[in-house]
């Protein structure tokens, strides 16, 4: 409750001191995620949807599909659009109004994680080359922010896609019959892109920060990878990283990927 106030300097010092001993305030190890709970089919009018909770952090993700013209440079490929909204409902720190940088960045980083991993088989989303393709909309909403919305949102996008079914399409009338889904799942590859964000606090690196930890993070690196292959990355915030530190982060992410994968595996079928 009441997260308006940013983490105080002295609490920040305590967190750093404790990290030096390899420990975190909530008893987790540095490379350990909080409990992840996932619900699918949470919005029945969406083609696919998921609610992801990581500790007290919660996001809702929905997938909608519609037909449109393909882009001229990819006439036989479907389109992807990812939008993220940081709702004022989810934190006293978020305000009404047009999307600000954090929401825009979140949408773009997750877009890359999904797109570049080739999770969606966009060629199978072509209805008529050069004329008609499916567009996949992934919309992400924050419900409660207690740190690490990025990873929660990306996992939400992945799980929502996994349970997405294509709506009926009347080819003669060129009309999507919204609300009527086919049994056909959206064409996906076997990849399972999971984004994991590492944060540097003092001389230590952690994953899945709470809001308190996020407040004192000096820099973050979000890495989207699938079975060891990295396809998206974003370093955020101001602090510079030594290349050795970057290597450390890559090893940390690799290890955490396996842990997170196990936690969410049953929702990826």
């Amino acid at each position: 409750m009441n997260t308006t106030m940013k983490t105080s300097n002295i609490t920040g010092e305590r967190i750093k001191k404790y990290l030096e001993q390899g420990k975190r305030f909530d008893g987790r190890k540095l490379d350990e995620f909080r409990e992840i709970s996932i619900e699918t089919g949470v919005s029945k009018n969406a083609e696919g949807s998921a609610r992801v909770k990581i500790g007290n952090t919660e996001v809702l993700v929905g997938v909608k599909m519609n037909t449109s013209e393909p882009y001229p440079d990819s006439p036989d490929k479907g389109n992807l659009m990812v939008t993220a909204e940081l709702l004022p409902l989810s934190s006293p720190r978020f305000e009404n109004g047009p999307p600000k940088f954090p929401a825009i960045e979140m949408g773009r980083v997750i877009d890359r994680a999904i797109r570049e991993s080739k999770l969606i088989d966009v060629e199978k989303l072509c209805i008529k080359k050069g004329e008609k393709v499916w567009t996949v909309f992934i919309d992400i909403y924050s419900i409660n922010d207690d740190g690490n919305l990025f990873d929660a949102a990306e996992i939400g996008a992945l799980v929502a896609l996994k349970n997405t079914k294509i709506p009926k399409y009347d080819e003669k009338e060129d009309k999507v019959l919204f609300g009527e889904l086919t049994d056909k799942k959206i064409p996906l590859s076997k990849n399972t892109p999971i984004s994991i964000t590492a944060h540097k606090i003092g001389n230590n690196f952690i994953v899945d920060p709470t809001l308190e930890e996020e407040d004192i993070s000096e820099t973050r690196v979000t890495i989207g990878s699938s079975n060891g292959i990295i396809s998206s990355m974003q370093k955020g915030n101001l602090c510079a990283l030594k290349t050795e530190e970057m290597s450390k982060i890559l090893d940390l992410i690799d290890k955490t990927y396996t842990e997170v994968f196990k936690k969410i595996e049953k929702h990826l079928k």
Binding site: M1, N2, T3, V42, S43, K44, N45, A46, E47, S49, N56, E58, L60, G62, V63, K64, N66, T83, E85, L87, P88, L89, S90, S91, P92, N96, P98, P99, F137, D139, Y141, I143, N144, D145, D146, F178, G179
Partner: protein, 233 residues
């Protein structure tokens, strides 16, 4: 007496959809609640009282209630573009008017109480569900209030006055006189704080519809009360 219409859902004319509610769903908020009516789900969070920004919006006489209503893009079958639109702007104000008469903000000059309302799943009756969730969230936030507010729509299908139109009845029913939607909100002592009509109805039948909705609002009140009282368990 005209022959009563047979509803597709099998509900009786004065039967509303099953409802449920929960309080305290958003840990960050000062107050929060979920209200579900059939397949319609509303969530609401309250932040404040807090200083009103921008300063020129401040009211030195009393605090301001500010409601924001929106539907998640995927809450309906036809995706809504994220962000405000004309419909959500009007409904936000309607919700404010429905709740303002019971909210006591005289002791909070220059302050604002923000109520954020989102539909996560929509099947008609969203403003009513939103008002019900918002009233619970306001109470949960400890905001001084004279009464609770409970909201429900009555309506008319062809010639029959009915309660609580669902999506099919609201948008696709076309027999005879078609469908009329009359969302209303009542304080727990039976006063109207909100009423709209969208359709085709006589004065007599409208009076009948108001009585029907008023009676149903009592049932909604019970669900809201139960949800609030279960909070500490």
């Amino acid at each position: 007496m005209v022959k009563e219409i047979k509803r597709k859902s099998g509900r009786k004319a004065d039967e509303m959809r099953p409802i449920s509610a929960k309080v305290g769903i958003i840990p960050n908020a000062d107050g929060s609640a979920m209200y579900k009516s059939g397949e319609t789900i509303a969530i609401a969070a309250v932040y404040g009282p807090k200083k009103m920004h921008p300063q020129h919006s401040q009211n030195p006489a009393k605090g301001t209630l500010r409601c924001t209503y929106s539907m998640l893009s995927f809450s309906v079958t036809d995706r809504i573009r994220p962000g405000p639109n004309r419909r959500s702007t009007e409904i936000s104000k309607i919700i404010e008017w429905a709740l303002d008469p019971v909210v006591m903000l005289d002791n909070y000059p220059n302050m604002v109480v923000d109520v954020h309302i989102h539909m996560t799943q929509a099947d008609a009756g969203t403003r009513c569900a939103g008002i019900n969730a918002a009233a619970m969230a306001l109470a949960h936030a400890g905001i001084p209030m004279k009464n609770m507010v409970s909201s429900i729509a009555a309506g008319k299908l062809d010639k029959t006055v009915v309660l609580d139109l669902d999506k099919y009845e609201d948008s696709d029913f076309e027999e005879g006189e078609g469908s009329t939607d009359i969302p209303m909100s009542f304080t727990d002592d039976g006063k109207l704080t909100h009423i709209q009509v969208d359709g085709y109805i006589s004065k007599e039948q409208l009076k009948q519809a108001i009585e029907m909705a008023k009676k149903a609002s009592g049932k909604i009140y019970e669900v809201q009360e139960k949800a609030l009282k279960e909070i500490e368990k």
